[in-house]
Structure formats: C-alpha cells, structure tokens
Amino acid sequence: MSAATAPPAKRSFANSLRPATHLFHRNWLVYKRIWYRSLFFGFLQPFMFLAAMGLGIGGLLARTNPGAFGSVGYISFLGPGLLGATVMQTASFESTYPIMNKIMWGRNYEAILASPLSTRNVVIGELAWIGFRIASISTIFLGVLAIFGITRSPLALLAIPVATLMGLGFSSCLIAFAATQTNDIGFSWVYRFLINPLFLFSGTFFPLTQMPQPVQVAAWMTPLFHGVRLIRGLILGTLDLRAAPWHLGYLLAFFAIGLILADRSLARRLAS
C-alpha cells in the first residue's frame, strides 16, 4: 500500500500521550542542571514561612487568644493552606512566562510543531511536566509539615495528588490565557487581580468566617478555597466526608475545562 492510500492516524487522547512524553523529556533535560537548587528552595521557602508565621504569629495568638484555632494551633491551620497557595503560585508562574517564551520569544513550539508533534501533544506534555514539578514541590512541603509535627493522618499523602490536581487546573487555564497574549502585560494583571487576592482571601492565613459574607461567598467560588479545604482536611485528619466529593468535583471540573481551553487556545495561536 502506498503512502497515498494510508489511512489517517486516529487523533485520540491516548495517541497524544507518547509524543507528549518527548516534551516532558525536553523539560527534564533543562531542569536536571538545576534540580538540587530548585529542591533546596522548595524546602527552604516553607521552612522559613512556617517558622516565622507559624511559630512567631502563632505563638503570639496562642497567648492572646488561646483556642482560636482549636487544639491544633495556628501553625497547623497555616501549614496546609500555605501548601495549597504555594502550589497555585508555582503552577501559575510555570504556565505564564515560560509558555509565552516558548510561543513567541524563543519560538520553541514552532520548532517542535515542525516535527510530528501536534499542539495537543504540546499541551499534554507541558501539563505533565508542570504536574511533576508541583507534585515534587508538594512532597517536599509535606515533609516540612511533618518536621513541624503538623501532619496528623496517613491520609496526608493524598494531599499531594489533590494539590497537583488543583495546580493543573490553574496551569491549564493560564496556558490557555498565555496563548492569547502578545506581550506579558496581561500576566501582571493576572497576578495582581487573581493570584494575589486568592493567596490572601482563600482561607490560607485565617478562617474565612472572619470575613464579611460577600467575601466568603466570593472565596467559596474559587478553586484555591476548595483545594485548601481538601488539603487541610487530609493533612489534619479533619476531612468533612460530605463536603469532600464536592470539593474534588470542583477541582476536576476546573482542570477539565482548563484542558479543553488550553488545547483550543494553543491550536488557534500556533496552527492557524
């Protein structure tokens, strides 16, 4: 049979996976030169945060307002929330400037798309890589929490896939956004008006019940809120089993929508 009559290859999701691993490998090739540095800061950052805020502010709270955070104390409330917020920030950074670089400054994707890879392979490969990065950051973070004696349940290990799922939701949505941008000004808006407010108002540093009703409702609609609820419940062993499926469902839907948007957005940008 000649090439002219060969049937077209199926464009199934499964067929997109193998070529996508090449992109993962490419990112690993670059990352392996700095992995120890990256892991060291991945350890240092939460360690300092928990020492300063957990022991410092937490110590103060314990004296002025004992029992405000129940028997666990402030540091145990803060730790899991900070894990979620850190994953969100890392996922966001990895999905904005580096992606824009590969689209237009370094034009890596143009080169990659001239090989047999498709934009869908690229999306899956990048998300797999970012998923790996945030999973490793979550693991280190969890180790730091264990050092501080914050982890109280073996279910804490499940916080890693949950945090990764949440991070991938942010990542896929921001890749979709990055592919529509022609300069990086849009990113500073995303950080100022989306990521930073989420960081502050999603139940990371204090319980949302401290806030007026509208802020609570707004926070309830954000992915970080649902992610942090799950992560905190798993790490502290206080998981609300009735609410958990809804939190998880939210995160799954967030990622699914992001995945579709990223796939379309990158194809529109790079294959038009």
């Binding site: 002219a4 077209p8 034009r107 080169a111």
Partner: protein, 312 residues
C-alpha cells in the same frame, strides 16, 4: 516511488490561504518534482511564507488542493511531518540546550532511537562544520552558525523534502556562501528542496525551477534561464545621470533598447547588446555619470513582470 499524482512531491491546485478578509495566497498552482530545487521568489508579503507553512502542515489550507509526499496535510500532518525538514525564517533553536542536545532532542520528537540520533548528530555536525562546538551553548554562536545548526536539525530525520524559508536573510556574504555550498551538496545527495527567497542571486544559484510570486499570486514559472529569456533581454545597460541631464532626457533614449525602465536611482536599458547601446548613448551626446553593461538577472524578470524591485 509510485503513487504521487503526476510524480510531483508537492502538488498544489488553486491553493488558497485567507486570514479573515485578507488573502495571503490566492489560488496558486505548482508542482515540485522529486530531487529538484524549487524556488519561490518574491518580495516580502508576496505569500511565500504562508505557502511554506501550508506545505509544512503548520497552517491549514483555506481552499483548493494540496498534496505533500502523496498525502493530505489536513488528515495526515503527523505522517507528512515525519518525512519533512523545515528551516524557518527566524531561528528557533532551543537556547536552553547545547548544540548537540538540540539535535538529539529534536531526533526524539521523531521517535528516532538514541543510538541512531547520536550517530546522525555527529554526521550532521560534521556536515555543517559545527563539530567543534558540539557541547557549547547555542546563544554565543554567530548568525551563520545558528543557521547551519538549524539546517542540521532539519535533516535529523533524513527528510525527503526540505523546506528553507529565506535561508540566508540577515547573513553576511561569507556565511551566505558557506550556506549555499551546504544546500548545493544536499541537492547533490538527491534531496528535494523548496527555497523561498527575495534574493535573486540565491534563486539563480540554487533553483532548478522557480515560481515568481507577487501579491499572493504566481506571476511566472520556469527555470532561471527560461524566465530570463522569456521576460528579459540578454543584457542590461545600467545608466546613472546627473540631475540636470535626467530632467532633459525626454525621448532621447527612444529606440536605444527593447525596453527602458526608469528607477529612482538609475535607468535600465534592456537590449541584447549592451555595448552597442552604450556607443549609441555616447553618439547621441547624452551625459552619463556612470554606465554598466551586465547580463540580465531574475531581478530584471521581476521588474518586468511587476514594475517593482524585489528588495525595496
């Protein structure tokens, strides 16, 4: 290899590319035959790059037919791209990888096994004379070296068809000649090349056949020699005048040549005997600042077809 319609490696019929209401490529027909070097010559914005992107499966066809290596880019992009090499207009090497890693990583995108990739990378680095820089970073390489590395990368999958989009734009003459030499050797090995360029010299040196593109359409097709014979004269007399003489030229050049082209900086007289025309200019007592007799080039073909120069 059987199975190609009309034995063309690339076949386009009424091929069209539109972006919204803008037509970048307007119903063009062409055939690229196996083992030839086929050129697209035209000014910037003529539609050359859009045509290349459609052939390379990087941009969907809006209308018309396109067959690449016997396959349809709309449904068999992956299979086509596996057998294609692309050298883009702007370098897109991976600046986070070394010279060698650029080749070996690119091989992986084609599912080429590691041991094969390594030996091909060695051969190709030798071929583009970069073997001494194999372990260097990409960024400090000169423009010519980066181009050569991009060419080596495009050859990693041993493509049947290699597409060069403006291969020497922005290079100094020495780097350009080195690159031409490599392209020429590639052609000797039997590869089919598609080259876009707005340098007529490049088209004349490298292309067996070419099409001249202007404003999204093909305005002429043939070998460089055929095109020159068809659209120009054997020789050209280039004259430059002082401002006063220029102003009083009216009609005084009539009958000197088959065609006269007045450009802002010089006047071109198309004739089969330039020296004879120059004698006649002197006999008519026309004061010239400088005169040059040269052979006709593709630049003249383009000028005669469109009334404009290639590089503006």
């Amino acid at each position: 290899m059987p199975g190609f319609p009309g034995d063309a490696l690339v076949r386009a019929r009424k091929l069209t590319k539109r972006f919204g209401s803008f037509t970048a490529v307007d119903a063009i027909d062409f055939d690229v035959r196996p083992a030839e070097a086929f050129g697209f010559l035209g000014p910037n914005g003529a539609g050359k790059t859009s045509t290349m992107r459609m052939i390379a499966c990087a941009s969907p066809v809006t209308d018309g037919e396109l067959t690449v290596i016997g396959m349809n880019p709309a449904s068999q992009a992956r299979e086509i791209k596996a057998r294609l090499g692309v050298v883009p207009q702007i370098d897109n090497l991976d600046t986070e990888l070394t010279v060698r890693e650029n080749l070996e990583m690119y091989a992986r995108y084609f599912d080429i096994p590691g041991s094969v990739a390594r030996s091909r990378a060695n051969e190709l680095l030798e071929f583009v004379q970069l073997h001494e820089r194999a372990n260097d970073q990409v960024e400090p390489l000169s423009g010519g070296m980066k181009r050569r590395l991009t060419i080596a990368r495009a050859l990693i999958n041993e493509p049947e068809l290699v597409i060069f989009d403006e291969p020497t734009t922005g290079l100094d003459p020495q780097a350009r000649h080195l690159l031409w030499d490599r392209l020429y050797r590639l052609k000797q090995r039997g590869a089919t090349l598609i080259i876009t360029t707005h340098y007529m010299e490049e088209a004349e040196q490298l292309c067996d056949r070419l099409v001249v593109m202007d404003k999204a359409r093909i305005v002429a097709e043939g070998s460089p020699l055929e095109l020159i014979e068809r659209y120009s004269t054997r020789e050209v007399l280039e004259l430059r005048f002082g401002d006063a003489e220029r102003a009083s030229l009216d009609g005084r050049l009539d009958g000197l040549a088959q065609r006269v082209e007045v450009l802002p900086d010089r006047t071109l007289l198309y004739t089969d005997d330039g020296e004879k025309a120059l004698d006649e200019v002197h006999r008519r007592n026309i004061q010239v600042q400088s005169a040059l007799v040269r052979r006709s080039s593709l630049e003249d073909v383009f000028l005669s077809l469109t009334g404009r120069s290639l590089v503006e």
